[in-house]
Symmetry: C2
Subunit: 375 residues, 2 copies
């Protein structure tokens, strides 16, 4: 068992899920709300996790998390939390379930409404307490199990990224066994999410060399093993490395993210399209790699090195080729986004927290061009 | 200002020392004991630090830290801590002063004697509390400002490494300004200490990819800037990178260290020779790089990459050449160690905590050969 002792205590290895009872006890968590979604339940993973606990069958479970967590879903889950007398949250699933769990933990510890904590308005300082969180990822992934943030689509349609060190889960249980059944398309999409996290975190101009070092390691790992994990989901070694890369990506993005995430958050809001965050990141990444070129030549060389490419390699081309090999869409148009939609997406990208740490400033005009280029 | 939020909150940049009052306030530390040494005082750095505080001149200062902290010195400092009514420790200096400060904080929080906490006997579990510690390094360095451990030469002559997550300083103030006056010889020795930390941490078989990622970044930094820092102590860029590499080295060695440290701890005990920990590490490192060859070929390639060498480069040769360029001794014999001394050193190396995480097992016979080879 690898124990990664950072602000989150992460238990990492095949079989880690068996440590859940001990970790709950260590945190003094007697009655957790399990925040998850129907996909996780259908995959049998909820049963696996509850099966490790003596009283697992009796725990309150909220499995209505939508593909992108909404304020309404968070409030509904919070109602269940309160009525069931919970004292903490287990977030079990992909980024959505874990993020919904974080939202509930925040509401439980500090009270609502969520918009009080809007980071674009300095709202993080209003966070008083946060109920304890144990995060158990089932994708590789958003890395939400170790990250400071969570994303919620508010009632007014805005997609807000909440961020505070207080939101970091106390415990993460990273058990690659839970991802063996993740289908190829999701493995590809969430794997490229991890790749994008590492790259955008590294390119962020925020100074944090340890976080960058973690990011380069994560990128190396994800770039090397993502095709194997997609080709053969039962490849345990590949699954282990993809989950580690995912966790490392989130540890790295304490530095902030960039324009890729600003754009994918904007496009991810479109309710009728239900676009996957990871797929959006993968598809948009080449455009932003070109946009950012020249801002940090030395970082680009180290990125190429981590990706096993020659120093002068074209990173955008490498990502395009990899997306194709993984069966991911070739552009946003293939995902259903049209030129006509761009004007509505642009302001959301401009307003996104991640825009602030893109190495090259991007305003509305730039985003309009970038969305067009990414079609 | 770079803020590195890990288990230690590290304020890192030129001028960071001005944040000391704020950090003390944040920790609720009203009357710290300043643990330092006469060299730091003579360099004017104690005045710089005390000068940032309103009541700096009135703080109790223990400046009798020997080059390697002893149990006697720790007890004497603890007496001052108690009589002055202190509520925390500021460790200001190189590894010795910071380690002595840690020892005092442990005694203050958990009571003595120190041997209760001997990690070779599982003593870390007896650590109840530790008084808060603010660590301010003046060398680059041991990285003790962010590490779990500290080393003390006990009354019976044994050099013990105490280690526990509870020993991690809450706050580190990493101000490269404080190292501008560090003489070339010490810059070289402490810089190679940081290099050795990164390398041994990476080679440790303990699984912790984030720590490894941090180690590779630290190694890259230290290898690249150490000659510049030695050649021109006023080179601010070089000093910044060497201090970052030092902090990163200690963040990496949460994975444990290896045979180099086992041997340098053993040789560092010899009271009449007063050998510098960093110099010993630099001189012994090539021998252990050869000894460990073949245990982790992929890591050796990544080490070479981080050091800007070709993949198949001989790492030991590169370190030998670098030591020569830095004016460091060519072997242990040049430092005063003779073949006749080896038999006494061997059992200490075998018993050292760091031996357990060397990638290749080393017993008494091996260490006898290794000391001889390193002469």
């Amino acid at each position: 068992m690898a124990v990664l002792s950072y602000l989150t205590t992460t238990q990492f290895d095949f079989g880690a899920v068996r440590l859940l009872p001990k970790e709950l006890e260590r945190l003094g968590m007697r009655r957790p709300l399990v925040a998850t979604d129907k996909g996780v339940r259908a995959a049998g993973l909820l049963d696996v996790v509850l099966g490790t606990l003596n009283d697992g069958a009796g725990l309150p479970v909220f499995d209505d998390t939508p593909p992108n967590p909404t304020e309404a879903a968070a409030l509904a889950a919070f109602e269940l939390y309160k009525s069931a007398g919970c004292d903490g949250v287990i977030g079990l699933g992909g980024g959505s379930a874990m993020d919904l769990g974080k939202a509930v933990a925040l509401l439980a510890g500090s009270g609502g409404p969520l918009e009080r904590f809007d980071p674009l308005l300095g709202g993080a300082r209003h966070i008083a307490n946060v109920a304890p969180i144990v995060a158990i990822p089932t994708t590789s992934g958003t890395g939400s199990e170790v990250s400071v943030g969570f994303v919620v689509v508010m009632a007014d349609g805005r997609k807000l990224t909440f961020a505070s060190p207080k939101m970091i889960p106390r415990v993460a249980i990273c058990d690659p066994e839970l991802t063996l059944g993740l289908p190829p398309a999701l493995t590809a999409a969430t794997g490229m999410d991890a790749v994008t996290h590492c790259i955008e975190a590294i390119l962020s101009p925020v100074v944090n060399p340890p976080a960058e070092g973690i990011g380069y390691d994560g990128l190396r790992r994800a770039w090397r093993y993502i095709e194997a994990a997609v080709r053969d989901g039962a490849d345990r070694e590949a699954r282990w490395h993809m989950m580690m890369a995912s966790t490392e990506g989130a540890m790295a993005f304490i530095k902030g993210l960039g324009a890729v995430h600003a754009m994918s958050h904007a496009a991810g809001r479109l309710p009728e399209l239900k676009l996957h965050h990871g797929t959006l990141n993968a598809v948009i990444l080449p455009t932003i790699l070109r946009f950012n070129e020249g801002t940090a030549p030395e970082k680009y060389e180290r990125l190429a090195e981590a990706m096993g490419l020659s120093k002068a390699a074209d990173l955008a081309d490498a990502v395009i080729a990899r997306n194709r090999a993984l069966g991911l869409p070739g552009g946003l148009a293939a995902m259903g986004i049209t030129e006509g939609m761009i004007a509505d997406l642009v302001p959301h990208a401009v307003a996104d927290l991640s825009t602030r740490t893109n190495p090259r400033p991007a305003d509305a005009a730039a985003y309009a061009d970038l969305f067009a280029a990414a079609l």
